[in-house]
Symmetry: D4
Subunit: 211 residues, 8 copies
């Protein structure tokens, strides 16, 4: 009855002390590469002070990692993380960092939104050769459809809450992605870079399993 | 206090007789190129029987035109009407036919949805040389953004109600288009091919005015 | 610029003749296993009459297949299709049939909704050994989370429009699945069994690729 | 025309002084076990200073109780309060504390969300032997359905606003619970632990009445 | 792992034959008082023809009952079913009939909507003496709050889809009931008379258990 | 082309200086009883300092009045302002104060929510003898229907944003009031005590006109 | 505890026989001018056959009136009923007919929508001299604001469900009217011409009372 | 593949340093009239300090412009910017300033909301002679329809988030504008003065092209 990867700590809304307690408990259990998502710099600094062990903070992705151990679980191929605008960076980095910690090769292609589609085409090779693509976009979220039209591997679409007005905090991009007319798109919650990373990691692991 | 073009009859929800009465009144006033939109074949056949004058029916666009007179009001350049899928045809044709009756050159590019973006690129010249583009798309509605990224003229985006589930009868495409990250996009109501045609016609008229 | 699998025909809303035309064109191109989804029995019977070639109709899944050729593209392992209630059958079968035509082994587990969770546990082995799970559920859609908590492979969740009142035509199940607290869930549009099948097929293909 | 239990003070949005006034008036009337919900620590401290009488503060449940008198109104059996994640604690504790003050035995089972369903099964006996179950869950809110499938007593479901994105401040869990396919589920407002406690207390009182 | 009452058949959307099959299977298992909800007269007539056993049809409540056996499981006290307008009758009767088949005494008070509140007061005794109240109301759904203010037992509120315009198919009454400022209200899905009956039956059973 | 009463200043979102300017301009024009709504204490204090003239601040109603002159425009009868809970006070007072400044007799009946309906009945005479009733209520907003059922004069219903969860910032009360099954209810925007006061004032003026 | 006017029968959704029964009962009680709204021609014809008494049917307004007696309750002044488009006629006529039956003088001004504002100005006198205005409009519903800006009497706004796409069955016009920036607007439910008529009648009665 | 005007920097949500970097990069590229929208005074002051070049700040429109060069790209005619209330000023100025920087003549007509329609008529000439009209309005957003009814040139409607309650942050005005019954209206996102300016600039450029 286990989910196959260690628990990941969702830090938002937890006190510094609550976060510390959970990290300590997991360190005691001997776990490595312990991940905290949506973590503030304050939470990180509190951990760095109180944990005997090394802790790393990934700023843009807002991720804390304790007991960081470099492992390449999936040596064959990579996961592409593409994102539409600079404002989507946080979410894209959440996905990319989690993927790397879980042992995947990641290729980042940021700022390739559909309004300037030539930027996307400049990266066609790296996208088409990926085992899975994480496509992060806010506002109208059209990126996922365009990308899925260009590749034959699963595209995990992450709508972001970037935008204003009729964007309704990411609803616009979410609906766009759910209604994609391209084959091979599946969607996770608004801003859920972590969730997309887990799905992409599972897919990449399957692609690596028979080596 | 006049709007600058003759009244257009929205036939949906009107009885055959109500529609006939309005056409007769306008013919009496001496108007030509009288347009009825959202017209059924039944309404058309009733008119053909009862009007002494010639009436034309445009099937896909569901448009009736009485006293059809070929005029080219705007000889210079054209309006491009692009649409994403075959299901969007009705709305695209509503726009194209209205544009032609109002005296514009129209270039149609249908089935150029973003999931197969090479089809769109095959028409790049005709799109980029237009004075205005009407972009019709349902489902995720991403077409408007991609097109607007490729041209420097106004793009009038028409979301359609094509789709199911989280499409919510066109809401998805509507929000996508309102949130477009590309410059030069403006939006009309869901399925409102007629409305888009009027705006595009006004723009094309301005582009022709100083000849 | 190709998507890696032949086009699939969405038959809903198309006339019998339009559907026939598309099938004929694809047969001429020499394609096999040509799929039409959301097809009515009427559309099927029209095709059977007019096509020289054999056509098969899958009733519950509402799928037409022409030029059916049995291929096992992915011999290793299977995709599990689980569904919550008898009412979700249509969507689950759409997914299962498409998966089989594309060359995957499929294990069906229907009527395993969370209100009687022992029925789900009776199938634990078949679910946990799958390369990917398609989880189909309407009403509250809780099935996806429970299943994802039990397996370490990707779960593609399909909300259905089954239900009434505050179900809002599938919105309830859709939101449930997007908010899943279990790892490894991604979501497709309401009632989109076909879309889930394509994603699951892509994943299963990756899992079979290095054999 | 009385509701059968003394008024409870909803402290949120009231000034410290307004809260004090209401407590004083009720104490004067000779009431005991006077409850204030959604109370801040500041409001509590102000009361402790100004009231001659003892006041208790329950931190997690954000409840103030003045004139606390231990009574067991319902000696037979208990109410189970189950909750999905640590983030739902506040609401679960609001329910549990109110139930205890009203004179019920309460068994708490927290962190038994459906993504790790074995944790729920570990408490099966305590849940099945309860006279009523309060089920508190945010995000996808699937807990209520699973629990209701396991017991034959009423389940009062409390959606919480825990989550982000397509959670829409608890709407997701609310719809899930209203659409439960399991028998015996009824629902209260988002985050309304207090309301659930009152219904559960009324049910437990009926279960104790003929002793 | 059983829910404590036999399965109830939701007939809507099932073919006559499917419904017949399920009834036959349950009769074979020796069950009595087998209930089908949301049943059409056609489904009923088909069953009457094909089942060797007696079947009853409750018109307004749209309920089929096979193997009807009069039992009084809960002799002490009654459940009150109150409803606002004649249009809510169907849902109220669904609740009342299910309650009676399950063995409860039921007192019906229909057409006691809040716009003519004196009609409600005329029944005060029967409402206040009930072990539980099922309150059925569409449009603004205010009945549940007024009733809950008058009794000290649980009120199970059933919003109905009766209304038009800003009623949004029952959403209005649903929100009203979820926001009730009166103590002791819990809510089931729009039009879910059956669901309310099950909760009320469970409560009434607890109130009868120690006799 | 005039609206028949002097402009009222909506102070929210305006700087202290902007508000001052508008008051000064209106004073110069010789107006009296100049009203500012949604005014903060800060805005008031700034006006008191800088205006040569007297200014009054109504705290709960958040109203500034400059050049206050007591006039009774409508001597015959009164307007009743009823409200459900203490939390609705702000909005009720906005209505009451504006009504008084405009020259109406006002009778206030606060805290007469439907959960304790006897409190409402205690004021039956004052409500039934009013020329118009302003009914202010948040949460489920049932008050308007109950009141309208008791009187034969117009009831202007004001939904308030008081509540949480499925209240959706007043949407719940708004829908309730729009769906009122009682005759004679009309509705203004959420929290718009001012708007209700203007309508009630116009009605009361008509009731006084033939004296 | 009476509402001051006899009950009105909402015929939609009632069988011909149910409607007949209610009319018979009211005729027996000696009532006159008995009104049925949302009545179909079929219901009317059934009544004409079975009632000994005269019944009248108002086609566009879908109103049945039995025991029609011409009374002028309010001789002084009139109520103006203005509507935006021909499609809003049904609702406008529902209001106008009910107003006339209740004894008011009515002036109808139809097809005065804001897109051709000169048509509205042509009726300025009749609008400004009314005791109350009922403003009926679908689509964008702007009429109410423009009218309210021109008069100093109450404007009862009736949004209609006329429109398509982002009109969302009247939601668009409803929100427009609730947000009116003009003084003196109050709103009733979508398509609720009857409700507006009752409020306008009450106001006109007050304006006539002191004669 | 270029959009025909230089990139514009959306400053909201960017750090002072990020904004500075982008401005520096564009200055290096030799661009002039570099625009930053949604810019705070803080961002401006930081730029003024660190850039060697002159920078201008437009307060109300929240726009930064570096390397400001006066050019009149479109000498013939003007664009009219009309707005409803003082609260809509920010958005109207965003449109007006952007239009001026891009080289258009702009005529501003602010505070011409429909509740006082005579103020709008006072400017009829300037509106009717424009090549395009940008119509900015919050609350009920009726201005766009009234204006479009008076002119024969395109009206670009900008809903604003001004309002409260059922305004739902601009949704009300957005729906109004999308449903406009007047010809020639197209819509941009809520508060998107910039987007409207770009469309209006493109139209005005076309109107100037053949000189
Ligand atoms: N950024 C994230 N978004 C969504 N879910 C997450 C995220 N980070 C962690 N989780 C999930 O949340 C669970 C932990 O929640 P908690 O018990 O509140 O720490 C983990 O099991 C993860 O599956
Ligand atoms: N009217 C009803 N409303 C909601 N749920 C129902 C209703 N009638 C039956 N059910 C539930 O639906 C389940 C049967 O669904 P099905 O398997 O589709 O017949 C039963 O276990 C009942 O709990
Ligand atoms: N509390 C309020 N709610 C709604 N509208 C108001 C309110 N107070 C004033 N108004 C209206 O807002 C207009 C003034 O808006 P402004 O020009 O922004 O001061 C006045 O004409 C009033 O009709
Ligand atoms: N006020 C605005 N509203 C909407 N879009 C804008 C606005 N200002 C700039 N943009 C667009 O946003 C893009 C820049 O976004 P960014 O890369 O985040 O700076 C530009 O290409 C503009 O088209
Ligand atoms: Mg693809
Ligand atoms: Mg462009
Ligand atoms: Mg899993
Ligand atoms: Mg159960
Ligand atoms: Mg009670
Ligand atoms: Mg009344
Ligand atoms: Mg007025
Ligand atoms: Mg116009």
């Amino acid at each position: 009855l286990r989910q196959g990867m260690s628990e990941v700590i969702f830090c938002e809304g937890k006190t510094k002390d609550q976060v510390l307690k959970i990290f300590e408990r997991m360190i005691e259990r001997g776990e490595v590469n312990i991940i905290g998502t949506r973590a503030s710099r304050e939470q990180y600094e509190y951990l760095r002070e109180h944990l005997k062990d090394d802790v790393i903070y990934y700023d843009t992705g807002r991720i804390i990692c304790a007991k960081r151990v470099e492992i390449i679980k999936n040596p064959k191929g990579h996961v592409a993380v593409v994102s539409a605008g600079t404002a989507d960076l946080k979410v894209a980095e959440e996905a990319a960092i989690v993927l790397e910690i879980l042992g995947n090769n990641v290729k980042r292609m940021y700022d390739v939104g559909v309004a300037g589609i030539h930027r996307l085409f400049a990266h066609l090779d790296e996208i088409q050769s990926a085992n899975a693509v994480v496509a992060v976009a806010g506002m109208e979220g059209a990126l996922a459809s365009v990308v899925a039209g260009l590749v034959s591997k699963p595209v995990i679409a992450v709508p972001t809450s970037i935008g204003y007005g009729a964007n309704f905090k990411g609803l616009s991009a979410l609906l766009t992605m759910l209604n994609s007319c391209a084959n091979g798109v599946c969607v996770v919650n608004i801003d859920n870079g972590f969730g997309a990373a887990v799905v992409a990691h599972m897919i990449n692991s399957l692609a690596n399993q028979n080596l």
